[in-house]
């Protein structure tokens, strides 16, 4: 099958590549770009582990073709840490609040939480729960994920977060 040239930005870097039109974005990221931080779970658009940020939207990368991302600006978990290598506030929050156990859902959770906090820097608990409704976690029971996002919101807002993890 003929391949088409695409050009997009991934974690700030310009990338040019050849893709088959039917290649899903998640397969392109993992298998052609070797960015395996974006996971594949259900493959049926339900679990959210494949969530990346695309042009300022949280998108399930198993439900969009790489060719549709031609010209787009994509952020994956590999692009979340600060330029000096220190953890992003969300990564820090997940670490401090035990927002993960097996860690499988974490890249998707963090990318989704990233966009949520950009749109709503100080969400209520209910807004966080609604905001991550498209991301499933089979380990944590969500309590500590909510706290991790609250921790990050506080840090990004220059406030201290005083709650303890469950």
């Amino acid at each position: 099958m003929a391949k088409s040239a695409i050009k997009l930005k991934i974690n700030g870097a310009e990338v040019e590549a050849l893709v088959e039109p039917r290649t899903l974005l998640v397969h392109f990221l993992r298998e052609q770009q070797m960015l395996t931080g974006t996971h594949i779970g259900c493959e049926t658009s339900h679990c959210g582990v494949c969530t990346v940020d695309l042009n300022g939207m949280s998108v399930k990368s198993c439900t969009i073709f790489a060719i549709q991302a031609d010209g787009a600006d994509v952020i994956t978990i590999e692009g979340m840490a600060n330029a000096d290598g220190t953890l992003h506030a969300l990564q820090e929050g997940f670490r401090q609040m035990h927002g993960l156990q097996c860690g499988f859902c974490t890249p998707g959770m963090i990318l989704r939480a990233h966009r949520l906090l950009k749109e709503n820097p100080n969400p209520t608990e209910a807004e966080i729960r609604m905001g991550i409704a498209g991301n499933l976690c089979r380990c944590t029971g969500y309590q500590n994920i909510v706290k991790a996002i609250q921790h990050a919101a506080a840090k990004l807002g220059g406030r201290e977060y005083l709650e303890a993890a469950e």
Binding site: L24, S45, H46, K60
Partner: protein, 288 residues
Amino acid sequence: MIPASFDYHRPKSTPEALAILGQYGDDARVVAGGHSLIPMMKLRMAQPSHLVDLRSIPELKGIRIDGTTIVIGAMTTQAELLGSAQLTAAVPILHEAALQIADPQVRYMGTLGGNVANGDPGNDMPAVMQCLDASYRVTGKTGSRSIKARAFYKSAYVTALNSGEIVTAIEIPVPPGKHGYSYDKLKRKIGDYATAAAAVMMTVSGGKVQTCAIALTNLGPTPIYCAQASAAIVGSGLDTAAITAAAGAAGALMAPSPDGRGTVQFRTSVGGVMIGRALQRAYQRATA
């Protein structure tokens, strides 16, 4: 899950899209948000050889209030509907319904045009559009026409759309400033299609219902506009007898299929409950 191979097209204007559709006929399929079509392609239940992506056509985007009509471009996403304060103020039922569709990720991508054109009885917007008496602006090789939502759905996945036509916009008559509305949906979990759902629009004066429209989601192969049930409510003060009469008239139109969401009997019964709740909430809002 890897879809079958296809050629990808990304036209920059509606005429260009129509030309591609004309060239490839039934081998071509348009893709909007892709959140119904791509899952079908992954399951190989859809295998178009040409995919025509509408995402780069600027004229298919945007929300505009044009005197007595609200015009929403087909490629407007559910997230954009939710983000429009002007739209929410004029037609709050759209906001209420859009929030009950899937999850944030799906709403960033899924479009209003895709939701209404898809023809899946599980989609929520078709019943809302029937309730609002909306029309779909449709364009094909031979020109443009307007089809009422109430006349658009023929059976599951079969609509009044002809091959080579695309929905370009959804046109909604601006509801009266003071009206009641409700979209009540029972679902098993976030991201699930309705076990049953009911949309209601209503105006009330002096405690009596002046106008009423009721439409249902996922209670048959198409969305169901319930003219008789709506008429049973008009003139009443929304007493129990009127609600029972409406639910009875609507119940006669329901034909859900038994699936993981329940038996025919259960889903029909939930349909009646959703109608009752939606009527009551709409009445409260109209009289608040």
